[in-house]
């Protein structure tokens, strides 16, 4: 897991690219493809320069067909390759659902291990960029309901690279969600303020070589005593801002791996604080926050001093014009803190 070489400042985009670069270099079985990822380098430029460096057989553009991208990757995985594919926006994974649920997730099981699909399926997710309902979704809950998949969401460049390498090396299929609002800097929900770049953030300092951040390990983003925040992706920073602005001494846990989950870290923290707020951007009902709440009440029942609070996106499509009324910003998160503390 240790880094092989020195560190340099990287944005999340650069960190992801660096992870793919490292893996393309180390493993001839790694191939990268998706819509616009080849010559152009991806609409978010995550794969820029990789086709030039590794050739069109290793990094290439695909037809606009998410089921084809994933389906072809399954076949390649069965052959023995290790495809890393991009879905241009998480909002567009739906055409690939059958391949993901019925094939990727179940291939090892149904063939009793004869065939595996060790794919990494990258997709930018989340809102805050005025993308409207088809460029803003956070569909992680779907994936966590599908046994056989791993679901990962990094919140900073260091983790992004380390988790992406770990995902590519993993023999299980990994859904790798990238909070696009974090691509260029941490975002605390104050959209009216200037963007802070990753170069000013400690986790923007990234080793150039190979290293991994283990899957199934959560990180304590901020230690605290009054309540536990379970969150991931963009909401890590929003929760931090909420803690700071409200003066609540929140312990913020960045789950990083949504499923399988580092339950121990979660349970330990909630047992300590006795209160829990779950924060995510996805719609509330049957969101991953529901699973977290169900687990926490199951494992920490006798330690809980207040109901677990969920601060989430509303149960509506992600609207374009009312983006900031939809986005669970620091005020809403802080209000959630207050509610669990008042009880």
């Amino acid at each position: 897991m240790g880094a092989e070489s020195g560190t340099v400042p990287m944005t999340m985009i650069q960190a992801l690219r660096s992870a793919m670069d490292v893996m393309l270099d180390r493993d001839p079985g790694v191939v990268i493809f998706g819509e616009d990822v080849g010559y152009f380098g991806g609409v978010f430029r995550c794969t820029e320069g990789l086709q030039k460096k590794y050739g069109t057989s290793r990094v290439f553009d695909t037809p606009i067909s998410e089921s084809g991208i994933v389906g072809a990757a399954v076949g390649m995985g069965a052959y023995g390759l290790r495809p890393v594919v991009e879905i241009q926006f998480a909002d567009y994974f739906y055409p690939a659902t059958d391949q993901i649920v019925s094939e990727v997730a179940r291939l090892r099981y149904r063939s009793a291990g004869e065939f595996i699909a060790p794919l990494t399926i990258r997709m930018p997710c989340g809102g805050g960029i005025y993308g409207g309902q088809t460029h803003s979704q956070s569909p992680e809950a779907f994936f966590t309901h599908v046994c056989g998949l791993r679901t990962v969401m990094p919140s900073n460049p260091y983790d992004a690279k380390g988790l992406l390498i770990a995902s590519i090396e993993c023999d299980d299929p990994v859904i790798f969600l990238e909070p696009k609002r974090l691509y260029n800097g941490p975002f605390d929900g104050h959209h009216e303020r200037p963007v802070v770049p990753w170069s000013q953030h400690p986790r923007g300092e990234v080793p150039e070589g190979h290293y991994t951040v283990p899957l199934e390990s959560a990180a304590v983003q901020r230690a605290g005593s009054e309540l536990t925040v379970l969150t991931y992706g963009t909401m890590v920073y929003v929760s931090e801002a909420a803690a700071q602005e409200s003066g609540v001494d929140a312990e913020i846990i960045d789950l990083r791996s949504l499923w399988p989950l580092d339950l121990d870290t979660v349970v330990e923290s909630v047992k300590k604080t006795g209160r829990c707020v779950v924060v995510h951007e996805a719609t509330r009902t049957s969101g991953f926050g529901a699973e977290l709440a169900a687990l926490v009440q199951e494992h920490c029942f006798y330690h809980l001093e207040a109901p677990i609070e969920r601060v989430t996106g509303w149960d509506t499509p992600y609207p374009h014009a009312q983006e900031w009324a939809y986005f669970p910003g620091p005020d809403r998160v802080a209000a959630g803190f207050r509610r669990v503390l008042e009880k």
Binding site: P63, G68, G132
Partner: protein, 410 residues
């Protein structure tokens, strides 16, 4: 088997990249007037030759020639020219408004205006179009109030879609313009379903679905072809082959060595490949297809060969992946220039009239823009209320959404 060479992966490339000149010979053109016009009741298989040809009416001198000349009166042509020019002026203005940060995002249809405008003129009232984000020409041809459109783009308090959709994803039911989706290709089986419904009800209205070359790779394109063919749905399937899908060339969507029209014939659907920058050809082919549909003869697929002259969207920079001056070399030219030339040639139009019309349209759009901007914009916060965000998820607001709205305090 060991006497075989190693296999290798073929990855198609465009014939021109930045700094080069595109070799457009891959397009396989026909000359104007060259291609036969079969009877509308032809069997699908009898259009097999047409999918590798290119139906054209306007020749290089702007004359209308051959069996596909629709013989339209000049007034209709001028109405078409006007709608195309209006589309182009509108697009240019909105591009600027986006750069001025008045609107958050925009997608123009520069260079492919004829496809939607001439098609719209060939349809009847009540026919329903299922568009993508690049068919604003349909709206211009159907004279949808500009203020409504600009309010949608501005996401302001008068946005008919209540600020819910990204700019350009219009919905204008009364103009036969179905709600545009951000997810590609989904509208195609819907267009077929609408047409099936019309047939089930014994109605006389037809549907017209739109899809880009790149998006034909999506599953729903296939689904639409299958359903349209099986039930002989009264639908026109328009494939706008503008050569590009964001940064990928049409060969990445499967255009190499075949055509998108050929997919239609394979699926048992009468199919045409048409010069999409030739207003007369677009009108004429659209009429042919509409006539088929309305006569219970089933669907038609039309591949419109055109060129996406502008960037994919305001988030895109095409000079990164194709020659900057590519459009100037595109052999099918500019649809507005070509129709202008024709009209001028038949003595129904002049440079002067053209300039005047352009100014008139600029003014008209300017006035509309001004009015729309007076209702605010996303940038200045004059948008539909946060409370309205919870409406229309269901017909009536269920308890959980009322609770959520309450929690938001609105």
């Amino acid at each position: 088997m060991s006497d075989h060479q190693p296999l290798r992966l073929h990855v198609p490339e465009p014939t021109g990249r930045p700094g080069e000149h595109t070799d457009f010979s891959y397009l396989h053109l026909s000359s104007a007037g060259e291609i036969r016009r079969p009877p509308v009741d032809s069997a699908a298989a009898d259009t097999s030759d047409l999918v590798f040809a290119l139906i054209r009416v306007l020749d290089d001198e702007g004359r209308a020639v051959g069996p596909w000349d629709p013989g339209l009166p000049p007034e209709r042509l001028k109405a078409g020219l006007r709608a195309m020019m209006k589309t182009r002026v509108f697009d240019a203005r909105m591009q600027i408004a986006q750069r001025q940060k008045k609107i958050s995002f925009y997608m123009q249809s520069l260079g492919e205006e004829a496809v939607s405008v001439a098609h719209a003129l060939a349809l009847g009232p009540g026919d329903m179009c299922f568009p993508t984000y690049r068919q604003q020409g349909l709206l211009m041809a159907r004279e949808v109030p500009l203020v409504d459109l600009i309010c949608q783009l501005l996401s302001n308090e008068r946005d008919p879609l209540k600020g819910r959709q990204l700019p350009v994803l219009y919905s204008v039911r009364k103009a036969g313009f179905f709600s545009a989706s951000g997810n590609l290709a989904t509208q195609m089986p819907q267009a077929v379903g609408w047409a099936m419904a019309s047939a089930i009800q014994g109605d006389t209205k037809i549907a017209s679905g739109w899809i880009g070359d790149g998006s034909t790779a999506e599953a729903d394109f296939h689904t639409a072809l299958t359903f349209a063919h099986v039930y002989r749905a009264p639908v026109i399937i328009n494939v706008v082959n503008n050569q590009w899908a964001i940064s990928t060339f049409q060969a990445i969507a499967g255009g190499e060595g075949t055509t998108f029209a050929a997919r239609g014939v394979g699926a048992g659907i009468a199919s045409l490949r048409v010069d999409g920058n030739d207003f007369l050809a677009v009108y004429s082919a659209s009429r042919w297809a509409a006539e088929r549909a309305r006569s219970n003869l089933g669907p038609t697929l039309i591949e419109w060969v055109t060129y996406r002259a502008g960037a994919h969207s305001t988030s895109d920079d095409p000079t990164k992946y194709r020659p900057a001056d590519d459009w100037a070399h595109f052999p099918l030219g500019d649809p507005i220039e070509r129709l202008k030339r024709h009209l001028t040639g038949i003595g129904a139009w002049s440079d002067r009239q053209h300039e005047d019309l352009k100014k008139e349209l600029e003014a008209e759009i300017g006035v509309a823009q001004k009015e729309a901007e007076s209702y605010g914009s996303l940038a200045d916060g004059h948008v539909h209320s946060a409370a309205s965000m919870f409406e229309d998820v269901y017909k009536e607001m269920p308890a959980h959404l009322r609770r959520q709205r309450q929690r938001l305090g609105v």
